[in-house]
């Protein structure tokens, strides 16, 4: 059975505190709401002003928002279905078409002979003269440059060749589209 508790007379202190809480709490509550409103309004204005200023006045912040993000968002919105090959070409130039051709038209264990450096320079394909760069985009297919035919042991094991115009077509029996100057063809056995 629960004990019946005698009501105890409130002490002076309790009286005071009850009185205080009864009278002070609505004011305190009002003050708190007022503070919150003032803080959110004033702070909000200051914060918007601060962010607006730095994004309009400081070159780096301006660049990320008004150049980089804006341009990229619009490029993505315009070309949502862009293929990986198209993205490579847009970022790294038309020469990427040759590497994508190698990747798409040869088996993974292929060893491909690349044209001489001078020929690549003539067609303004400078990036793909760098072996590590080209290898990344054709991985795991191995590339061997025609300039290195004497010193690169892989040259003799090559299975394919990237032909440009008439260069290299004498080393293949494969049929090809003569209208396209760039072809990846299997070497004569």
């Amino acid at each position: 059975m629960a004990k019946k508790l005698k009501p105890t007379p409130p002490s002076k202190n309790t009286e005071k505190s009850v009185e205080k809480s009864v009278h002070a709490s609505p004011v305190k509550k009002d003050n708190k709401i007022l503070k919150l409103v003032a803080y959110n309004a004033l702070g909000g204005i200051l914060m918007v002003f601060f962010i607006y200023t730095i994004f309009h006045q400081v070159p780096g912040y301006k660049w990320i928002y008004f150049d980089m993000l804006k341009n990229n968002m619009s490029a993505i919105a315009k070309n949502p279905d862009m293929t990986l090959e198209q993205k490579h070409m847009q970022k790294l130039g038309g020469e990427m078409e040759l590497l994508d051709k190698i990747k798409n038209e040869t088996p993974k264990d292929a060893i491909i002979i690349m044209p001489p450096t001078q020929m690549l320079t003539d067609i303004k394909a400078t990036r793909i003269q760098n072996f590590s760069f080209s290898y990344y985009f054709t991985f795991p297919r191995m590339l061997v440059y025609d300039d290195n035919k004497e010193k690169d042991s892989l040259y003799k094991k090559a299975t394919h060749i990237l032909t440009i115009g008439q260069w290299g077509i004498d080393r293949t029996d494969a049929t090809f589209d003569s209208k396209n100057p760039f072809r990846v063809l299997a070497l004569k056995k």
Partner: protein
């Protein structure tokens, strides 16, 4: 398979948090596991490579299960207390009417979403990744080993410059994406950056309150050059993540003497050694403070040495691996015979100052830092955060001096791609979170934020931890 791997990586990180959860906030407990899990995964893959275990997904996942069970198993008694602490923290969270905080967070999320979208849309085309760590990642995924046909091809390694010498954190993490069949591994880089921002927010929040933390995190996020790197797959952002968090946790350890902070600092520092070897300057920055703590009898010598040994071992392990397994030494870029060159020294430092003053690269970061050093002068004299500032300076000066010893002076100072204009510039990312941390956590600004927290929100817990060291 992807979900399972992510869960296992997270669990491996969580097993560490199980030992260090006591002083951590809810957001720290939430965000640390992924970062530490990635470090543990890369460490595990490195150890597997040393004993010639194939890096197949099954082997890696088994390794993660053993790691998580092993580390977590030791702390299994903490499990219920750990979950209880999370429940308590969630229950005690109060919703506050703070539209400024909400606005900052929403704006930050919008920017992060857009940069993440950019990152996911474009494939990897950055030369450092293409002719470096991402090429190695493809090799690891294809041949299931670190010592693969790429890393063992001396000619190829040398043709890639220093890029294949970088410790293998990013290569391993990217290799996981390729092994899972993804075309691009960028998602993990974006997730790591997002996770870091949550952790950074949580750390600033502990010391200066939610509003300061939101603003500070936004300013770190929008640091122009760093912001752009969220969309790339380069080592610089992960390097900044691990090294800056290691320094912040060490600062907390120095102040509060809680061993949990020391464990986390040690692990993040070791993680930074798995990302870039030049992070060794952060070991150099922390070591004097450890010596000071040992001298002051705040830390046992054995614990101090244990703290330093793990990052040092990780650093040495990779350098010895490149030397003996690949057969190439990394110091081929440095001067062979030392002679003092005053002109080079002067030119180097003036170049460095021109970089840190460049608002297109770092926005207001360094301006704010130096301004607040002056504003805080009174508190600085009273030794406010001097340990933190010591770490920044002791790391930054040797980091800059590494470049003084690079032999090829023409390439060192070359505009648009030289050592300073590319490598050094990005290496400063590690200092960006640190300088903003100082700006928002040091005594002067803290008083303002404490005023807002107390007068507007009635929160009185912030500066309690802020004692003079």
């Amino acid at each position: 398979m992807t979900a399972l791997l992510i869960v296992l990586i997270y669990l491996a990180g969580l097993s560490i948090v199980l030992h260090t959860y006591k002083p951590l906030s809810f957001l720290e407990k939430l965000s640390i596991p992924l970062l530490l899990g990635c470090f543990l995964t890369s460490l595990l893959m490195f150890l597997m490579s040393l004993v010639h275990l194939p890096l197949t997904l099954v082997n890696i996942m088994l390794g993660l299960v053993i790691t998580a069970a092993g580390i977590g198993g030791i702390g299994y008694k903490n499990l219920s207390a750990f979950f209880q602490s999370i429940t308590d923290q969630i229950k005690s969270t109060k919703i506050r009417i703070d539209f400024i905080w909400l606005g900052i967070v929403a704006f930050g999320l919008l920017l992060f979403y857009q940069i993440a979208l950019k990152g996911m849309f474009w494939p990897i085309t950055e030369m450092d990744a293409v002719a470096g760590y991402d090429l190695l990642a493809k090799g690891i995924a294809d041949e299931k080993m670190l010592s693969n046909s790429i890393l063992m091809n001396k000619e190829l390694v040398l043709s890639c410059g220093p890029r294949l010498f970088y410790p293998p954190f990013l290569s391993f993490i990217n290799a996981l994406s390729y092994s899972l069949g993804y075309e691009t591994p960028k998602l993990i880089n974006i997730v790591l950056a997002g996770d870091f921002l949550i952790l950074f927010y949580a750390l600033v929040r502990r010391l200066s309150g939610p509003l300061a933390a939101a603003l500070c995190t936004l300013l770190v996020l929008i640091t122009p050059e760093m912001f752009a790197h969220i969309a790339f797959s380069l080592t610089n952002y992960p390097s900044a993540i691990f090294s800056s968090i290691a320094v912040i946790y060490f600062y907390l350890f120095f102040k509060e003497k809680d061993s949990a902070h020391a464990i986390l600092s040690c692990l993040f520092l070791s993680g930074s050694m798995m990302v870039r070897s030049d992070n060794v300057v952060f070991i150099m920055a922390i070591a004097p403070l450890i010596a000071f703590m040992i001298y002051k009898k705040n830390l046992r010598l054995a614990y101090g040495l244990a703290f330093l040994s793990m990052p040092v071992v990780v650093f040495l392990a990779w350098n010895l691996y490149t030397k003996y397994a690949i057969g190439i030494e990394q110091n081929s870029f440095f001067v062979k015979e030392y002679t003092w060159n005053g002109d080079k020294f002067e030119k180097l430092w003036s170049y460095v100052f021109s970089l840190i003053k460049n608002k297109s690269l770092y926005g207001l970061s360094f301006y704010a830092f130096f301004t607040f050093l002056i504003i805080n002068i009174y508190f600085l004299i009273k030794k406010d955060m001097w340990s933190f500032l010591t770490m920044i300076l002791v790391a930054w000066i040797p980091y800059t001096m590494i470049y003084y010893f690079i032999e090829d002076e023409a390439y060192l100072f070359a505009q648009g791609g030289g050592w300073l204009a590319s490598g050094y510039k990005r290496g400063l990312f590690s200092y960006i979170p640190l300088v903003w941390f100082y700006v928002f956590v040091s005594r002067g600004p803290s008083i303002i934020f404490q005023f807002i927290e107390e007068k507007v929100f009635g929160r009185k817990t912030i500066l309690v931890e802020q004692t003079n060291e």
